[in-house]
Amino acid sequence: MTARPSAFGSTAPRKDAKLKVTGAARYTADVTLPGMLHAKVLRSPHAHARLVTVDARRAREVPGVHAVLTRDDLGGLDAVFGYFIKDQPIVATDRVRHVGDPVAAVAAESEAAALEALALIDVEYEVLDAVPDVDAALAEGAAELFPGDKPRGVVPPYGAGASAELWPRPNVCYEFRYETGSEDVWERCDHVFEDTFVFSRMNHFHLEPFVTVADARGDRIEVWSSTQNPFPLRKEIARVFRVEESSVRVNVPFVGGGFGAKHNCKTEPVAILLSKLTGRPVRHCLTTEEGFLTLSQHAAVLRVRTGLLADGTFLARESEVLLDAGAYTDGSPLVAEKAGYRIPGPYRWEHVRSSCACVMTSTTPAGPFRGFGATQATWASESQIDMIARRLGMDPYDLRVKNLRALGEPFMPGESGIDSDLVEGLDLVAAELGYHGRGSAPNRGMGLAIGFKDGGGVNKPAQARVKVNATGQVFVSTGAVEIGQGISTALCLVAAEVLGVPPERVSYAPVSTDTSPFDQGTNASSGMTVMGRAVQLAAEQARDRVLEFAAGHLGCEPADLELADWGVRLKETVHPLPPMVAAVFGGTGYEFSGDGFFKAPNSHEAPLEAPCVFWEIGWAGAEVEVDPETGAVTVLKLVASGDVGRAANKLVVRGQEEGAALMGYGQALFEEMRYEDGVLVNGEALDYRVPMAEDLPASFVSVSQEQGHGPGPFGSKGAGEGTMVPIAAAIANAVQDATGARVTTLPLTPERVFRALREATSPAV
């Protein structure tokens, strides 16, 4: 092999840099069509009520109004949507289940006219008992959000030790269970500890709102949408509107942030139906306030019971997680599966038993959120490890290292091996923090935690196409959506590396379901390890076709040739390709193309029916100072580290790791959707606090690891979620190190910390 500059591992600006810094990047929010109308939705003011009458006659008379959509307009449609469970109506039909539940919608010449019409829709409700949280929903005799016949749903196939059940008890739509090893080990445990943790919920707060422009005139439905999964969205739209998928086209411009929120139907069904009713294109763009009523992270209550030997060897862990799924199931069953599966953490156990239930409450529906159940699970799991270490008089670092699984060791029987050296990462973070030499200044302390999730997703087929024109310009086309994570840059670098061309010669095609190769979705940090493999295979096929062509032309074997900057090297001579292509295909040109397909193989031996593609690990360390007078926690230093195996672009990786860590930091200290008496009281930008630059810890360090064991192209792994996952536990662990006080409920507000300090210092009663 001849040495040539490697495209992979670049520090060059991202492919989308120029468009984004100049403001030229086009998002769905910027799309307009001639004659376009604007949609607005009437939302329920009640958490739970029966819908008695909906009268839109007065609204239809408002100047500029073209149509009002109510439950009477759903004829001929399969008008409920959802992931595993089809339970969410386009507009309410018989009852509303949370404040903000859509009841009717208007299409008008302007948003102002639409809003004026909404105020004239007369709705009569019969208010029912609300079930504002998990405890209320599970209480004896609680009101049921879905009484009687349950919405239809499916349980996907599971492998060894895993199972799930739909609607196992009132207000529980799905329960995932996992068990391995004999429960007899509990008898051998010298210590058994049981603790309960509470996890608060956040809003995704993507800056580009949920937005769709739909044109459903004629026989086709064409949408431009801010979505992370265009192909499943196409399938769902086709099902709901009872048309073939070939009649639906989903176009995805740049997406202004997703963080998990932008999956499946959100603003699309209302926009499409109003477009059908009016014969005009319709834009449906939610406000930030409406976003708070559309989707959130899952709040959770997590009970963890851990048994171990006197020397600190872990034996058994049993856990019970209750996720607050909100009023509709959305992605909750999938989140439950992941939270329930991941809660043992990357440690050796002889016995694990876990269950995770999705509890329906009369609040904003919860769904996918960066971390996807792992943030909840790790909050409990990694907090309890520190609590146990302190009860046993051990250093939490030592207790972790004693029990961590080794590189290559399967997470659970039938699983893939863990593809990061966990101790290596922990040592890096501990060293950066100065953990081992930490002093004992009053009210100052340090904590560590390891975030852990199976990345890459299961059952994720990904296809890619790479084509190269006569002059060596490369076009990469996939269904992976650029939502800010840098996937377009990373995939272009994979193709550049395989084809031996400079990265600036590679471009990424806009995503549109009619023309882009199929993909399951942009989620689960799967871009590099799943789609990256498909792009690599496609580029290799394109390369092989170029080499076969050139070998035929030069009268040699393809194996004698190597691509070099759009020429072929035969022994010491480089033959430029453009004249060869022109000689054979003429001056008009030609494109070599390759297709790639990747899907991790299924296995019934693996608990989730397919071995995990890669393990996304986030290591974190925090140094804090706690004010004993106020309970205020100041994070003096935050260290976050992920292992991307090998970085395609170092700027992209650093940005993903720091952004995810700061999201975890907000969750740890202050960011939460606050409900009082079942009502969301801070569902708007002014009252809902996300981290700002002024909130940054005095020292915030990210350490990107490239351990090189990843299954993606050139040893890469995924990124973007791992460093969010351990932050809250690392900070709570540092607070305990500083003060001896333990907070088990997020966020770590001064009030909670202050109470915990009082409990820790007052004598036990």
Binding site: G23, A112, G256, G486, L651, L662, M663
Partner: protein
């Protein structure tokens, strides 16, 4: 007043946008954000919270960074408005924009036009800003993606580029 009546009352706004004089007749209740995006097609100015909190729509009004969602169009009559579109020179990114590209001070890009304008104003007032000044200024806009460190790096780099080109 109903939306209809407000729309019926139209006013004329005489404003300079990115160095070009514009005269627009708009309903009295039009905000600057809508004037720029809907009337002038300047979609580089981003709409997000529309409550003057997130700063995605930040423009400079007579040099002062302002959330254009929270300013009526009539109030910029006679003013100069600078937007992200005016930061490029002959189609090529200006120094602040190049710094954000080079340092990776963006991800989804939705806050970026506002951050670029905020940085432009900051560096006019403090050509060599301290870390503290950068954090304080940048704290008026929200970025949900980056964790801010790479934005702060971008601001310092922009200061260098502007000095080098002075």
């Amino acid at each position: 007043m109903s939306a209809d009546r407000a729309a019926a009352h139209r006013i004329t706004v005489d404003v300079e946008v990115d160095g070009r004089r514009r005269r627009e007749e708009v309903p009295a209740n039009t905000v600057l954000l809508d004037l720029l995006r809907d009337r002038m097609g300047n979609t580089g100015v981003k709409a997000s919270c529309e409550r003057g909190v997130c700063g995605a729509c930040t423009t400079l009004i007579d040099g002062v960074p302002t959330a254009s969602c929270s300013v009526f169009a009539f109030s910029v009559d006679g003013c100069s408005v600078e937007t992200v579109a005016g930061q490029a020179e002959a189609g090529e990114p200006g120094p602040v924009q190049r710094a954000f590209a080079e340092c990776g001070g963006f991800q989804c890009g939705y806050c970026t036009p506002g951050m670029v304008m905020l940085t432009t104003a900051l560096l006019r007032e403090h050509p060599e800003p301290t870390e503290e000044q950068v954090r304080e200024w940048i704290s008026s806009n929200i970025c949900r993606c980056t964790g801010y460190r790479m934005i702060i790096d971008s601001v310092h780099r922009a200061a260098e580029l502007i000095r080098e080109e002075a």
